[in-house]
Amino acid sequence: MTDLSVQLPGLDLKNPIMPASGCFGFGKEYAQLYDLSKLGSIMIKATTAEMRLGNPTPRVAETSSGMLNAIGLQNPGLVKVVDEQLPWLEQFDVPIIANVAGSLAEDYVEVARTISKAPNVHALELNISCPNVKQGGITFGTDPNVAKELTRMVKDVSDVPVYVKLSPNVTDVVQLAKAVEEGGADGITMINTLLGMRLDPKTGRPVIANITGGLSGPAIKPVALRMVYEVRRHTDLPIIGMGGIAEVDDVIDFLSAGANAVAVGTANFVNPFVCPELIDKLPERLHELGYESVQELTGRSHRL
């Protein structure tokens, strides 16, 4: 029996596969398709203190092997998430990772304090890397000192372990990883989207109303994998890796590079069953490769 389980701070995962934040809403839609209890975890959509409408449309655009999005943190706000979405998710046997966002440090703190008390929220994911919001967000994720400070503030109020989500739009991702480690982060999730743009060749206008958007999907996998590999070389913090995962060998690659678990974002739109399919395929693939557990494989690229 191949052992898929993974133990991370706050997270006792049946398996290392979970949908990435923003690509799975609060689970309701995918629950029509399959039993969410099958998932290792669910990273729910970014939650802010107040309800957010997000950006104007078009909010998505296709690119070569990827897509751009500028949703802009649309969400019903902390109160509704805690009163409605999270209780609804309690019917499933799955730990929730709550993605926490905001414009000011106080917003993050407020959301973290409250949402970390929800019974099924087992960890927070501090979204300091969303490229689609004007104020804040982006600066939290690109300045090591700011990132460290914010991590510390959130750690102080959180009832559950705090994972910090790193941006790929930086010169030195390792520096950021170390900064949030110093700030007390229990883990790292990476990567968020790469800042990109598409124009309509007919008009010269940006296709995304917000002008720029975040690039995700298979196109960014090489960048994501490189960053996970680099960060793993410099920290022992748990890493939840993501960026372009769509097939079982992508999972293998991220685990090999040092991720302890992985998240699947854009691929949910292409194949809404991708997460359960990956979970089903993983044991056989591990076995083929000569591994009996996820843990055995994890980080093997560093042990060659």
Partner: protein
Amino acid sequence: MIKQEKMAIVSQIEIAKNIFELTVAGSLVQEMNEPGQFVHVRVADSFEPLLRRPISVAKIDKEASSFTMIYRSEGRGTSLLSQKTERDTLDVLGPLGNGFPIEEAGKKAYLIGGGIGVPPLYELALQLNARGVETVHILGFESSEAVFYEEKFRMLGDTHIATVDGSHGTEGFVTHILNGLPNDFDAYYSCGPTPMLEAVQWAYPEKKGFLSYEQRMGCGIGACFACVCRTTRSETDYIKVCSDGPVFPAGVVIS
């Protein structure tokens, strides 16, 4: 229930310039009910192009367990789709969204479509006629080359065609035809470019109307918040075209 299925391609025919009629078969068809629902189609096995394409259901044949889409081959995805043949299968996710409420039609309904907004009106016309509703079809196209299904609509009721260049039917937009038609219908149903929907809505402020909207989509099932529109129902919320729509009563969507 929403299903994902590799459906068999029954036929694919170019029925007008760059307009393809694609019929596929599979058990997913048994889930289809409302006209105006759509499916989300994967056009390639690879991840390039990456996203699914939303296409309306144009005709449902439950007995044959098949349904028909009509689409314009335009960009990268739809042109790949148009190259598929009976030897291929098609990865379809659906049925999605909420379609046209047929029970609201009253005795006589106007079905107003523009371009690739025409297809869902065909299944709608079939279902309304089956319920004894009189349907009048007002259909707009770019030019005579782009006209499709004229005869099929004619078999079901009065059918008026407008073309932008006047090469077939009335010259101009569907609104030109509407101006000359009586106001004696109970409800209207419309699908087409947003400016057309706006114009139709303005033309019949006191009528019951149902409009089908388009937006760029990610997931197609309501999870990604890509396809939102502002709504008159609330200042503090968006509606999602994919899962709340694509059909909304007139007056609801702020476009």
